[in-house]
Amino acid sequence: MTILLTLVVLVLIAISIWQITKIFELSQAKKENTQIADDYDNRWNGQLMFAFLIFIYAITLFSFWKWGDVLLPDASSEHGIEYDNLMWISFAIIFFTQTITQALLHYFAYKYRGEKGKKALFYADNDRLEAIWTIIPVIALAGLILYGLYTWTDIMTVEENEDALVVELYAQQFNWKARYAGEDGVLGDANVRFLQDFDGKNLVGIDATDPNGFDDVVVQELHLPAGREVIFKMRSQDVLHSAYMPHFRAQMNCVPGMITEFAFVPTVTTEEMRQTDDIKAKVKKINAIRRENSQALLAKGEEALEPYVFDYLLLCNKICGASHYNMQMKIVVETPEEFQKWMDDQQTFAEVIQ
């Protein structure tokens, strides 16, 4: 039935296009039937060009007004502050350039629309102008490149740090596990060859002959202490995955056969984050949407949706198969004391394999 309707609609659209063309052609019957733009076409299309400029500005402003609140909240990590700064500087430059160049382009298209008998200016070259718009981007980009590279080096240089917490993020189709290095601060050797040892209890393939591994702790929920550097070591057992933690401005691919690294200092605990205005407003909005959706579900006799509570997220951001869209892990940032308490409750590898 739907197919039939769709087909009917398509046919009707085709007929209406045909008829509109006919009308156009008949209305222009007096004029010569040419398919080349005349003064009339130049005028109305030029005017539309100007209107289009307003449309571009309008859709920009509208999007910020309407959807500005979906953007990520301020970063919850130390380097994230630098990241956000650089982002806003880049955006300022982008919006400035966008506003000016689109205005020139569309205004000229409107202003210099053709008229019969008018002659264009023969103007083919101007080295000075060329130099100006080569040098201005050079200066702007030099600034951005330097600032960017400085920040990049800062973020990506993972220094040996006695106090740092070492955590392995372990990816597989389609879930995450985390492994903490334990008391000794050293992750035991691991390889996918050991995954089948201990009747499948060796969830991330720790090498049982490496003593460093016995105090390792493998969990399904990532807990991080606020204010302490966390050095992540990423592994994958099957295909490429990407560990994406948007609130911390952190991301690194997980590559089978190699260990990748990323480090950051989380600064805001989950509790604190839930109390910020941004998140409170967002949660309120999301819950309103969920209530609405629940009503539809209840009407169909299904269960209502649970109310939403904010949590930090770890998402997979590299296509990895059918359930890629649902490969996630909750991240809990807490005070060092809470973290220690949680950690004490976890089983070490030695305990698990006994």
Partner: protein, 596 residues
């Protein structure tokens, strides 16, 4: 050399007139016919590619809601009218592959390089008509295989158009990595062969078969763009071929180029010592230049159309050529910006950030030169011109966000999100598509001897232009909100629930944009048969193709090939009555040729 070849051709071109249906319409060696074949095949693939995008847009706007259209088109892949997640991934994969390679590489570059190179440089045909014909038929074959792969039992390739291993290498990882992926690889290997034959032909033709007086510095910018595009293709496509071959080896012969330490479906695989990062390097060594293989021809077409319809010389011809060369050179040393967070050494990230952001400079020069060309022009706002102005607009809007993505630091958090999707669709997808449309509207009279309907063209442009921004502008916000691309739905994360209505807006714009393309299709097909017959030079253009007879003849010109006496952009030149002076008109006494 060129004259000798032309002479030989001239002498025997009389014998070619007796053509059978097969040699004229199917296995034709005539560049004009091959160009039409490329265009029609490209448009056909485009319909498939765009239709796929509409299907997955429906899923994204109304996730997991039963829809009749899904069960009608996808059959068992959409049980109860709900698209299967694997099929979603297959659709985005094939959409990307078809649009990038089959539509915007073969359909755009193949069509207009073939049509314009001989006609604009004043050659009887391509250097090798036979290779040209083989190039098209290899493209056709690869298209057929790609389309056939849609009908494989387990579904077509579904690992994303970049087909990163191990996902693409292991049939255990997803259903699409079985026969579907094999067909994808075979199709692409044939496609690359076709592209290489085509490119070599373009290069040789431009270098050797220019008519008398057509020096390199008098070449229209279209030809410069096609020429440099062909060079980039010859340099980078073989690397993709080698990546594809190594991937085939890994898949079928147990080698370990890209694979190591894998445990999947309860089994440790034997692969040892390979690295997926190596594949990423090889892929993007083509993948990034590919962006410019798609874009440069569109920019070349735009340069030509903006100058012609502004009735003004293109501003800064030398700077335009220099920026094409600069972009081409830089395009081969920036591929690493797709891999900032792949696990490669962060120092490499610094280098690639530097080279990547440099590309903004020649791009800015081009944008400003287009804008200055419009200044004080006498703009003839034909559909081709509108699409060219539209291209400059989307090229700027999309290009600017490249400053964010090309910066390794900022890339960390927007990498592989919808921000990227919005960026590249505007800067290379929509821009190149506009270039294709502009080219079709402008050269339709040359190809089919008739004019397209302008009012339908206007309708097509304005609806498309509004919808393109309507689709991709809001998409930036979804990306900035942190939503990864290639997600079947975002309902698994309540955190993203507030993005649902943006997705609905995007999909509605996409559906209207899709409908607008039907207007184009109708106009295109209708005009081939019933369009108004064209005049000799409808746009009053300077380039040589408009001196060739309207009726297509083998060898392009009756009698001698016109000689060239000036550059292609003498529009509104003082001292001439008309506002254009074609390239074959000799300089008047005392007239100076512009030193460009």
């Amino acid at each position: 050399m060129s004259t000798a070849a032309a002479q030989v051709h001239e002498e025997d071109h009389g014998h070619h007139h007796k053509e059978t249906f097969i040699t004229k319409y199917i296995f034709s060696q005539d560049h004009k016919m091959i160009s039409k074949q490329y265009l029609i095949t490209g448009l056909f693939m485009g319909i498939i590619g765009i239709a796929m995008s509409l299907l997955f847009r429906l899923q994204l706007a109304w996730p997991e809601q039963p829809m009749g259209i899904m069960s009608a088109l996808l059959g068992k892949w959409a049980p109860d009218g709900v698209m299967d997640p694997n099929v979603y991934l297959a659709l985005v994969t094939i959409h990307g592959t078809i649009m990038v390679f089959f539509v915007l590489t073969a359909g755009l570059s193949g069509t207009f390089s073939n049509l314009l190179i001989p006609l604009q440089i004043g050659a009887r045909d391509m250097a090798s008509g036979l290779l040209n014909m083989i190039s098209y038929w290899l493209f056709f074959l690869s298209s057929v295989i790609m389309v056939l792969s849609l009908f494989v039992e387990a579904g077509p390739a579904a690992a994303g158009w970049t087909i990163y291993p191990p996902l693409s290498a292991l049939p255990q990882a997803q259903p699409g990595s079985g026969l579907g992926m094999t067909l994808w690889l075979v199709s692409m290997a044939i496609f690359i062969a076709s592209s290489l034959l085509g490119s070599l032909n373009y290069i040789v033709t431009v270098l050797n078969l220019r008519t008398k007086g057509m020096t390199m510095s008098r070449l229209p910018l279209t030809i410069w763009a096609f020429f440099i595009t062909a060079v980039i293709g010859v340099v980078s496509f073989p690397v993709l071929l080698s990546a594809a071959l190594l991937l085939i080896m890994d898949r079928s012969f147990g080698t370990s180029f890209f694979l190591s330490d894998i445990f999947i479906q309860g089994e440790v695989l034997h692969y040892q010592g390979g690295s997926p990062v190596l594949y990423e390097h090889l892929f993007w060594f083509l993948g990034h230049p590919e962006v410019y293989i798609v874009l440069l021809p569109a920019l070349g077409i735009t340069s030509e159309i903006i100058a012609t319809h502004s009735r003004k010389p293109i501003f800064g011809y030398r700077a335009m050529v220099a920026s094409i060369l600069a972009i081409a050179f830089l395009s081969t040393i920036v591929w690493g910006h797709h891999m900032f967070i792949s696990g490669m050494n962060p120092f490499l990230g610094s280098v690639f950030t530097f080279t990547t952001l440099l590309i903004a400079i020649p791009s800015a020069v081009k944008a400003f030169n287009y804008i200055t060309t419009l200044w004080k022009g006498n703009l003839q706002l034909n559909p081709a011109m509108l699409f060219s102005i539209g291209l400059v607009s989307t090229f700027i809007s999309g290009g600017l966000t490249g400053i964010i993505l090309g910066d390794s630091t900022l890339d960390i958090n927007v990498h592989d999100t919808y921000f990227v999707v919005a960026h590249f669709h505007l800067v290379m997808g929509i821009s190149a598509l506009y270039g294709l449309f502009a080219g079709v509207y402008h050269w339709f009279p040359k190809m089919f001897k008739r004019m397209m309907n302008k009012n339908l063209g206007y309708l097509h442009f304005w609806v498309t232009a509004i919808c393109a921004y309507g689709v991709f502008f809001p998409m930036h916000f979804i990306g900035m909100a942190g939503l990864p691309r290639r997600y079947y739905t975002n309902t698994a994360f309540p955190y993203f629930d507030d993005l649902a209505n943006i997705n609905v807006v995007i999909t509605i714009f996409a559906l209207i944009a899709g409908a607008a393309q039907l207007v184009f299709l109708y106009n295109f097909i209708h005009s081939i048969f019933y369009g108004k017959p064209t005049e000799q030079n409808p746009w009053r253009s300077n380039t040589l193709e408009w001196t060739a007879p309207i009726k297509h003849i083998h060898g392009n010109w009756e009698g001698k090939i016109p000689e060239v006496h000036r550059w292609a952009y003498d529009y509104s030149k003082p001292g001439h009555d008309e506002d254009f002076v074609p390239q074959h008109i000799p300089l008047k006494e005392g007239e100076e040729e512009l030193q460009h």
